[in-house]
Symmetry: C2
Subunit: 267 residues, 2 copies
């Protein structure tokens, strides 16, 4: 049987009681570490869970899923995912392959940034489509996420921006030359995300999203040292949010209660 | 200190390890039971947690919040919420009042239907604004949620529809006469939600949301007996989803992977 277990956000004890039970009855435990990552590391998780974890990177999951599924055919295997198991497409794909092979699966849900973002005071039902912002390269600067933020803002809705994570990625040169050399890990900060957003506003001469537009920067949500900061994009762009992971909300129309709650995070 | 602890969806062991620890160190434990409700009852939760729970209904939380906060000023108090603590406005309000009184708070996040809905195979980042559908009365049949579904659909986005829950509600007559007589509990089914949606389509002669529009009906998500059914609104309208709670998704544009995953739930 294959258990897809959400770890939630933050610490080792954010796993659910059910998740911990299933993990401990498993023969093998994989820890997915490329779509998201906890502030604490593999070692601390192993200490708390009392079990050895196998790091599963993108190559392993996308190219060798059958190895995991072969094991799950014979014994109980846990696949741990930061947040909720359905935050990323890849895990849906693993589930589909398991179903095709008639391997039983069980899902253990948990918090993800998509609902935990409510802790800043913004109401979840006032969020529109979520967007992902990727690191720009010199010759690749996608802007499609910006149109989605605009479309949400036109309807008065907030936008949750998920920020890029680069773990075990290869450069184009190394892919072409088929070399297993990986780039250093990178996590997009709130600051870089806002720089890219305001750069698009400038290019388009857009008056809807400007340096005065209000936003919320979030860092390490769910962890003991989480940080939330409400302010204009101009203010947030130069604020130091500290270590990974960061997220950003571009605010739509504010309800008075939302405003009152946000003010806790403005100083 | 006030702990706002999410219980997740489904069973007693869907609480996180952190949540269970904080609950057990609390002097008093309130169980919120009006914005959502677990399939299992208070008694089973008490058995598993080994602690007595105090049911907190809407009146208590909205009118007597100060009683809870007085206690939290002196000792550790837990306030348990089905799903994530930020699913409903009321809990944000409780948090704001605690902050105004300088009472320390800690949030324990958990899964909510807003992210667990991903288990049907639809990608979370392809959802637009979430809507709530309330029970229609003879003289009160709001349609504003319908416009939001349409606006999502125009952008190719899915819509999560949260369905009405009536717990310990008074009739207008009993409110006027100030009588503490409560109406029977009611939970909107997928079937009733679709009836109301298609009634609006008929009134408006709308060709965008029709009996052939595809949707997903979800019941008891996170519980052992959860049920997911994919089909046309016409099919889902007459399907028996069983006991509470139900939710509904109106589908926008489908990615091929989403389609493949949904097909697991079409028979």
């Amino acid at each position: 049987m294959l258990f897809l277990i959400g770890l939630g956000l933050g610490n080792a004890d954010d796993i659910t009681v059910k998740g911990l039970k299933l993990l401990q009855q498993s023969s093998k435990i994989y820890l997915e570490n490329y779509t998201s990552i906890l502030s604490i590391g593999k070692n601390e998780l192993e200490k708390v869970y009392g079990r050895e974890l196998i790091l599963a990177d993108r190559e392993m999951v996308e190219q060798n899923a059958d190895v995991i599924l072969d094991e799950a055919e014979r014994e109980d295997v846990s696949f741990l995912v930061v947040g909720d198991p359905f935050g990323a497409t890849t895990h849906s794909d693993l589930l589909l392959r398991a179903k095709e092979r008639n391997i039983k699966t069980q899902i253990v849900h948990n918090a993800s940034i998509c609902n935990a973002v409510g802790c800043c005071g913004l109401q979840l039902y006032k969020f529109g489509e979520t967007v992902s912002i990727v690191f720009w390269e010199i010759d690749w600067q996608p802007e499609s996420f910006y149109d989605k933020i605009l479309a949400n803002k036109e309807r008065g809705l907030h936008t949750l921006c998920l920020l890029d994570i680069k773990i075990k990625e290869k450069s184009v040169e190394n892919i072409i030359k088929n070399r297993n050399i990986y780039e250093p890990e990178r996590f997009m900060t709130v600051n870089v995300a806002i720089e890219q957003i305001l750069e698009i506003s400038k290019r388009r001469n857009c008056q809807v999203i400007t340096p005065q537009t209000k936003g919320v920067g979030l860092a390490r949500i769910g962890a003991d040292n989480q940080l939330i900061k409400y302010g204009s994009l101009e203010e947030l762009k130069i604020f130091n949010f500290g270590p990974k992971l960061h997220s950003l909300v571009i605010i739509g129309d504010l309800h008075p209660l939302e405003h009152d709650l946000l003010c806790n995070f403005s100083s």
